[in-house]
């Protein structure tokens, strides 16, 4: 049992930033991302015995868990909004730097205008530098679909940045 704890603690230490960054991109909100990161690692500890290193690395597995946790959160939020009659999407926090300290305001704003699906592929492939297979596994799609999605997301990001600079 101690070995399991040690193994988990090492994996958590090594991949905490990755999972957090992914969730920041996915949610577009730092506070929510922090909550979901803590929730993800709590789930990971619970399910650590299911982790099979032959199928995927710990980072990929943790990102899959993080995505599942985030989707649960989005579903709960959608239900809450329906229940409360507020159909408008929650406005992302206007706090200065959401997606990273040191990002240009144009890029920050462009990222905020991307959908969560577009941001997550950027996070996985660009920020976390996962390979195509790992990212596709996390997203539950084919490698080709993942590449296509990334290409479109980057094009849109580029367009948004250019529009921001022009403005």
């Amino acid at each position: 049992m101690d070995a399991v704890k040690t193994e988990f603690a090492e994996a958590a230490e090594r991949h905490l930033d990755d999972v957090h960054a992914y969730l920041v991109y996915l949610t577009g909100d730092r506070a929510t991302a922090e909550e979901l990161t803590a929730e993800t690692f709590a789930r990971a500890l619970e399910r650590w015995h299911r982790f099979d290193a032959r199928r995927a690395g710990p980072r990929t597995w943790l990102c899959q868990l993080a995505r599942s946790t985030a989707l649960d959160h989005f579903r709960a939020e959608a239900r809450r909004r329906r229940r409360e009659g507020r159909y408008a999407a929650a406005e992302p926090s206007e706090a200065a730097q959401v997606f990273g300290d040191g990002l240009s305001p144009e890029l920050e704003a462009a990222l905020a205008r991307l959908s969560a699906a577009e941001r997550e592929v950027v996070a996985l492939r660009v920020v976390l530098e996962l390979d195509g297979e790992g990212a596709a596994r996390v997203l539950g799609i084919s490698v080709t679909a993942c590449s296509t999605r990334l290409s479109r997301a980057l094009q849109k990001l580029e367009k948004e940045v250019s529009a921001g600079v022009a403005a």
Binding site: M1, V4, K5, F8, A9, A12, E13, L16, D17, H20, A21, V24, Y25, L26, T27, G28, R30, A33, E34, T37, A38, F41, A42, L45, E46, W48, H49, R50, D52, L71, F74, R75, A78, A89, V98, F99, G100, D101, G102, L103, S104, L107, S115, A116, A117, E120, V122, R125, V126, V127, E129, G132, G140, S147, L150, S151, L154, L157, E158, V161
Partner: protein, 335 residues
Amino acid sequence: MSPLELVGDFDHLTRELRASRPVASAALRERVAALGPAEPAEPRWAFRRPSSRLVLGLAAAALLASLVAAGLTRNDGTRQLKAARPTVDHGVSSAGAQGSPNALRRQAEKTPVFGAAIVPAANAARLQRYQATLRLRVENLESLSSATRRAMTLARSLGGYVGEVQYATHGGKRGSARVVLRVPVGSVQQALATLTGLGTILQQQTGILDVTRRADRESLQIAKLERQLAVATPQEAPAIRAHLRTLRAKHARLLRSAELARIVLTLTTPPAQVAETPSRLHRTLDGAAGVLLRELQFLLYALVVAGPLLLLGAAAIAGTRAQRRRADAKLLERA
């Protein structure tokens, strides 16, 4: 990342995104680190792909179990075959008292199979009905014909006669004959001794019924009627005379039956050549193959029965997953 995906204009974006990636706060690190000391939940059962070593071990165990089961089954069959071998039966009845089935069985078990014939002798001082059944195997059709002729000749030579003969052949290779001989009771032992030499004994059964008392009783009745006839009135005489005639005829038949023994001789050629008995190993392997075949049949049956349900279940699961994936995608597009 593939260079093809990030050509030209995207380089500056990726550089900036990587350089400014979000970092977890100290508070978050503490929260996650605090998870460590907590006791992880007990592992729940979850399906895991079994290792190939385990699968091979299970397959070997199943094969071994099949072989053992086949071997046990085969042993039972062998015991049954042994129990079904023919025996020589010497059922002897005396004075109308038949031996109990258990006693006859014990006697038959003690008698060696295909051994020398044991023929009980008739008592010359008493009136006895003697009956014997003899089943012999001869080598071929030629022996069958010869043995039949010799049996008939024997009956005549001993002062008896042939009551019935049936002779049949099948396909020019197999045949059988049934001969009913009547020989004087005094010569029955000699007759049986000669007849058993005509072939291999498959079955022998002898029976003696003592009719001395019955004959005595009939004699007394006849004497009594003769006395009644002597003093009978002309009206009574015909009825008594008729009764006396019937009784005398019956008595004569009884005496004749006690004079001549009835021997039923059945001769047969060997049955069609059966395939050579396989070795124990072959039988065991055959049995194992049978068991495996049976298991495959069950498996096939289960697949045929459960196949459509499994397909429906798989389709439902696939549909649910696809629907969930679409819902997730929509959710992320809106988020």
